[in-house]
């Protein structure tokens, strides 16, 4: 017999819902509020201290087990990531099973098994319960920690980090962590190539030995089983797990900012800005404020409430805008978040702050308050469809020392929240003047406009791993200008006269991309004819441009290049483009001095037409071009491409860079120029498409 507690709550006070006339012009009134039944759970404890919760649910012949380790957060330092890897390693081998055997046995019974640093989950059809518990307990109690498995995980992690380099949301989340929690706090840590490199097998094993103890663990059992049947099995498989002393850690709570602080991470040429506005908050799960503060946040940034209505419905800045307030045992946080069109970045920040301010100045109308309550209680009911929800409740009650009836009273307590409670919560937890304003986007366009949100007038720049960039850029010397920097460059490579002597040029370069040798030959002829041939392994691709029409030729056939791509090509294949930039509608602006590979370099912003923008860096000492950053178009969107130039050598009076390094996201390609020949009398016909 399953015990169930019945809980009544009224969503609306309804009049007679029976047989109303069919008036299509108004929505039907709701029926009497349903009873939300929270099925109860049973529990028992093993001698070694493992606490077990059993939630019976016989709808499907399925059982799932979820083991949770309840330990203090751990500061990992320069080996960040080893704790997570220890968790991953659990299922890669035990003292008596190899990874192959575990994989095979789990799949053989059609089950699933996953492990992390704070727990292990497994699920299968009820008929396989015994086998599943045998494997799961082996993974929990006898993991082997083999070096070759750690090496695999490290390799995969590095691939994933590489993949994530161009993801603005990942970059924004790192900034959130770093700024909210500060150096030395466990919540501020994330993996980088460097920390992954420092991870050793011993660290992982030590982590396991110190923290995987039954006396700090909870095991939730959910599904088509009874306590009577499962208790002996749990005893059989987890009874031998040895308990032990576990260390505790204390951390200094992070400081909240005393005034709005603007932080930016540059994604040159990004079309969207990723915005996060927030700060850490002292809010514990199950505290008296938790339900009220949660409802307050719903009105501001839940579902389709204020932020969504304002930023999407009213202003069409974005596809969605939301906020969250997350209570936590150690330290919680509030964050408003959205992705908006670059051009409206500052307006979007303004509107978000404004909505936050409004929360603090006026209590919500009763109707809006009731809508937020309905929304929250509806979500609560929908979540109950999953039997694991009850198991999570059970674990939370134990983990956070909540009253046993906390979740049974949840809806009642939710309904009791008043408009003045919401105002009080907003004054306590919503801080539109003491927040971190974090933006990942095109710094050149948005940084100046974001200054107004910072009382100090400072906008601090960070790299993709949330490291502060040294932008205490040197003052520009008096009288320098973009024009002068470009003229200086032309003199440095050999002068206008020598450049004008070039009628045609043939450059060959070679490099290695993804393990494949790549050879590129570029033929150029005045004024802007181009033939570019790329050979990569067996693949061949060329682009041919006669000054008017352009085609790309691949084994799949010939495609004409048109539109923006054609315009770009026209510009980029022009020999000596910078001799007469005005002729091509190119404007340039000097925007500062920055370090490029350790050298001071002038940063020049260039623009052609209204859309095409790119950035170039010129060595202050030698005058040579060191770097170029631009966005490149692909069939699906744009990405930032950086090319570094070095090893300048003289060919017939002109200096050319012989080494080029292209970085596209994480992808780095080094190309070495093998020869440059000029004035070879290239025939016009080679720039025509061969019919």
């Amino acid at each position: 017999m399953r015990k169930s507690y019945i809980l009544l709550f009224l969503v609306f006070i309804t009049s007679s819902p029976l047989f109303p006339q069919l008036g299509r012009n108004t929505p039907p009134p709701p029926g009497p509020a349903p009873e939300i039944k929270l099925s109860d759970y049973e529990s028992f404890e093993l001698q070694n201290g493992l606490k077990v919760f059993v939630v019976e649910n016989h709808k499907l012949p399925v059982v799932s087990f979820s083991l949770v380790i309840d330990r203090d957060p751990i500061f990992e330092g320069d080996s960040a990531g080893y704790v997570a890897m220890a968790g991953e390693l659990l299922k890669t081998g035990t003292k008596s099973r190899t990874k192959d055997q575990i994989d095979e046995e789990i799949d053989f019974i059609g089950a699933s098994l996953s492990t992390s640093s704070t727990g292990v989950s497994a699920s299968a059809l009820t008929s396989h319960t015994d086998k599943l518990l045998e494997i799961m307990s082996d993974v929990v109690i006898n993991p082997a920690f083999r070096q070759e498995e750690l090496d695999k995980i490290k390799k995969q992690t590095l691939s994933e980090l590489a993949s994530a380099k161009d993801e603005p949301e990942t970059i924004a989340e790192r900034l959130v962590q770093k700024l909210y929690y500060g150096q030395g706090h466990p919540y501020s840590e994330f993996e980088t190539e460097e920390t992954v490199g420092n991870i050793k097998l011993d660290m992982c094993r030590n982590y396991y030995d110190s923290f995987f103890k039954p006396n700090i663990a909870y095991l939730a059992v959910v599904g088509d089983i009874t306590k009577k049947d499962i208790e002996p099995l749990i005893n059989k498989y987890f009874g031998s797990w040895q308990k032990g002393e576990v260390k505790h850690f204390k951390y200094t709570p992070p400081q909240t900012p005393s005034a709005n602080t603007v932080a930016i991470s540059d994604r040159p040429n990004a079309v969207q800005s990723t915005i996060r506005i927030g700060y850490p908050v002292e809010l514990k799960i199950g505290s008296p404020d938790a339900i009220k503060a949660g409802l307050t946040n719903t009105i501001l940034g839940g579902g389709e409430f204020r932020l969504f209505k304002n930023l999407r419905e009213k202003h069409a800045y974005t596809y969605g805008a939301y906020s969250r307030i997350s209570p936590d045992k150690l330290i919680g946080n509030f964050t408003a978040f959205t992705e908006v069109k670059s051009a409206v970045t500052d307006s979007a920040v303004f509107e978000i702050l404004n909505e936050m301010k409004k929360m603090r100045t006026e209590a919500p109308a009763d109707k809006e308050l009731q809508q937020a309550k309905n929304y929250t209680s509806g979500n609560f009911a929908i979540a109950l469809e999953k039997p694991s929800t009850i198991a999570n409740f059970a674990i939370n009650i134990a983990k956070y020392n909540l009253p046993r009836d906390y979740y049974k009273n949840y809806l009642k307590n939710l309904q009791a929240v008043s408009a003045s409670d919401v105002l009080e919560m907003a004054k306590k937890y919503i801080e539109p003047e003491k927040a971190y304003i974090i933006v990942v986007g095109n710094a050149r366009d948005i940084a100046p406009k974001l200054k107004r949100f910072s009382p100090s007038g400072q906008v601090t720049s960070y790299d993709i791993y949330a490291q502060k960039l040294d932008t205490s850029a040197k003052k520009l010397p008096e009288g320098t200008s973009a024009r002068k920097v470009l003229d200086n460059y032309i003199s440095a490579i050999g002068g206008r006269e020598n450049l004008l002597k070039i009628k045609d040029r043939t450059s060959e370069m070679t490099g290695n991309v993804q393990g494949v040798e790549v050879n590129i030959t570029i033929y150029q002829k005045q004024p802007n004819k181009l033939l570019q041939e790329i050979k990569a392994g067996n693949m061949r691709q060329s682009i041919v441009f006669n000054g008017t029409n352009a085609y790309s030729l691949t084994p799949a056939g010939r495609k004409e290049i048109t539109g923006t791509s054609l315009n770009d090509l026209k510009l980029e294949s022009t020999l000596n483009l910078l001799l007469e930039p005005e002729k091509f509608g190119i404007t340039s602006q000097l925007s500062g001095i920055e370090k490029v590979e350790g050298k001071d370099a002038y940063r020049i912003e260039l623009q052609a037409g209204t859309d095409k923008k790119w950035t170039e860096y010129y060595d202050v000492d030698s005058g040579l071009k060191l770097r170029q950053i631009k966005s490149v178009a692909a069939p699906m969107g744009t990405a930032t491409q950086t090319v570094d130039f070095s090893d300048y050598r003289n060919v017939e009076g002109i200096k050319y860079p012989f080494r080029l390094r292209q970085t596209l996201g994480s992808q780095q390609m080094d190309m070495q120029v093998t020869s440059i020949k000029v004035n070879n009398n290239l025939k016009d016909s080679i720039f025509e498409v061969q019919k």
């Binding site: 969503v11 929505p27 039907p28 709701p30 029926g31 349903p34 709808k59 499907l60 012949p61 399925v62 990874k99 994989d103 095979e104 799949d107 053989f108 019974i109 059609g110 699933s112 059809l125 015994d130 086998k131 995969q156 691939s159 993949s163 380099k165 969207q272 389709e304 419905e313 596809y319 809508q371 929304y375 509806g378 009911a381 109950l384 991309v513 993804q514 393990g515 790549v518 570019q532 790329i534 990569a536 392994g537 691709q541 682009i543 691949t554 495609k559 290049i561 791509s565 770009d568 090509l569 490149v632 178009a633 692909a634 069939p635 699906m636 969107g637 990405a639 996201g665 992808q667 190309m671």
Partner: protein, 448 residues
């Protein structure tokens, strides 16, 4: 331990799925209204919520070649309001009732759903019947949604690594059949469509005789029938003829290969093979072949390519089960410093292995266990059950009860069948091969 396992396996092979089928039978009822609307009801009072779904038998394959993306765009218009629902109110009604809603468009169908607390069921019926009865489309709504759909395309395809994969694969694999374009379609066609075309599309496809109303959750079947007839019986049957493309894709004669340069960090290899429509005997064998290749960490692709050789970061294979003959897709992302060709050769080796060697009894039992587990767990939410019921009715010749019995079809598949379909369909001449590569240095333009 070993003994117990053996008994389970033996039982399983003989008749355990019939036993099982009795255990969790989905007891639904179904009937037609006079206007042709097919209604499926599955009462289940475990949780006080109800899932209301409406499936329209129209997808991107019903579009004209110069109006691709039309069905998906129309899905957006369906939230714009009706004679009795103002613009923007659709979402608000559901949110204020504590529910959630969404919709999606595929090659073959367009599906709308609301999940609501059970005392708000009638609201769901009113909302769905309103837009089936008298949707309101005006130029303001069309313009707004044009913008929204463009942003959606950016988010889902353009700014996502490998986001164009489906679009590129289907475009390369099909020559004639409308599966050669995907539901998101091309933006410019929507810009060209006129208001009258939208109305015409609505009156052709969004009619009760082209739809299935499937409801699962906390209600009584008798009362629900009354409510359904109250809201839906008055909607007139459609009078226009419904366009169903009878286009047969000619058999592929030789391998199609191409390279896509994208803003990605790691190369990917995609292979697609033409396969028969869903519900055919071979389709079930192909589905089990997918399980063999890529389901779980002992699956052949994962074990060999990810775990052993470490050539791949990710491996997957999916049969696109479609109303007309679809595609079997293999999709792998390379690990750092592994090139596409190298990864490709390992995939080919594994395919060759299935074609040359009969799988062992042990591995075969594993597949059957995995398939059974999936089949059971697929029934864990009311929303999932409601959409599955509608899907079985629409695409399996009215055989709605497959929700209870489809496992039998899987269990008829033999080891020899799996080898046979690997041979028959995963052959080179039936393959479309795409390499996704990071854009090379110096590439100046795009051919497209």
């Amino acid at each position: 331990m070993a003994k117990r396992l053996l008994i389970t396996a033996v039982l399983f092979i003989s008749c355990s799925f019939f036993l099982y089928a009795q255990e969790v039978k989905i007891n639904f009822t179904e009937y037609d209204l006079d206007n042709g609307l097919h209604v499926i009801l599955y009462p289940d009072n475990t949780t006080p919520i109800v899932a209301v779904t409406v499936t329209y038998h129209v997808g991107s394959k019903n579009e004209k070649p110069d109006r691709t993306g039309f069905a998906h765009f129309f899905e957006h218009l369906m939230f714009e309001g009706s004679d009795n629902i103002k613009r923007g109110e659709y979402f608000q009604y559901v949110q204020n009732a504590g529910g959630e809603l969404n919709a999606y468009t595929s090659f073959d169908e367009t599906v709308y759903h609301e999940v609501l607390p059970s005392n708000q069921t009638e609201l769901g019926l009113w909302l769905e019947s309103e837009r089936m009865f008298h949707l309101k489309i005006d130029s303001v709504g069309v313009e707004t949604q044009r913008g929204v759909v463009k942003e959606e395309r950016k988010e889902r395809l353009d700014n996502r690594p490998y986001g164009s994969l489906m679009e590129q694969t289907f475009a390369h694999a099909y020559k004639l059949h409308p599966y050669k374009w995907t539901p998101i379609g091309s933006v410019q066609y929507i810009d060209r469509a006129s208001l009258s075309e939208f109305m015409d599309f609505y009156k052709t496809f969004y009619v009760p005789n082209n739809a299935v109303l499937s409801i699962a959750g906390d209600f009584e079947a008798g009362k629900m029938k009354d409510l359904v007839s109250k809201y839906f019986a008055g909607i007139p049957r459609g009078s226009k003829s419904i366009y169903r493309p009878g286009i047969v894709e000619p058999e592929q004669q030789k391998e199609v290969a191409d390279t896509v340069y994208d803003n990605i960090q790691l190369p990917a290899v995609v292979k697609a093979f033409h396969i028969p429509a869903q519900g055919t005997d071979d389709y079930y064998a192909i589905d089990m072949l997918t399980t063999l290749l890529s389901s779980g960490e002992s699956s052949r692709f994962y074990k060999e390519l990810v775990d052993k050789e470490q050539k791949a970061l990710y491996t997957g294979s999916f049969p696109f089960s479609l109303e007309d003959p679809g595609l079997f897709l293999v999709y792998c992302i390379a690990n750092m410093n592994v090139n596409a060709r190298d990864l490709d050769s390992s995939i080919d080796r594994e395919i060759l292995r299935v074609q040359n060697e009969l799988i062992s009894e042990h591995e075969f039992t594993k597949l059957r266990n995995q398939v059974e587990d999936d089949f059971v767990k697929s029934k864990n939410t009311n929303l999932g059950i409601a959409t599955s019921l509608a899907n079985y009715y629409l695409f399996y010749k009215g055989n709605t009860n497959l929700i209870n019995t489809e496992l039998e079809r899987y269990m008829k598949v033999t080891r020899e069948d799996i080898k046979r379909v690997a041979d028959k369909y995963l052959r080179k001449s039936n393959e479309t091969l795409l390499y996704y590569l990071p854009k090379p240095l110096g590439q100046k333009g795009e051919g497209k």
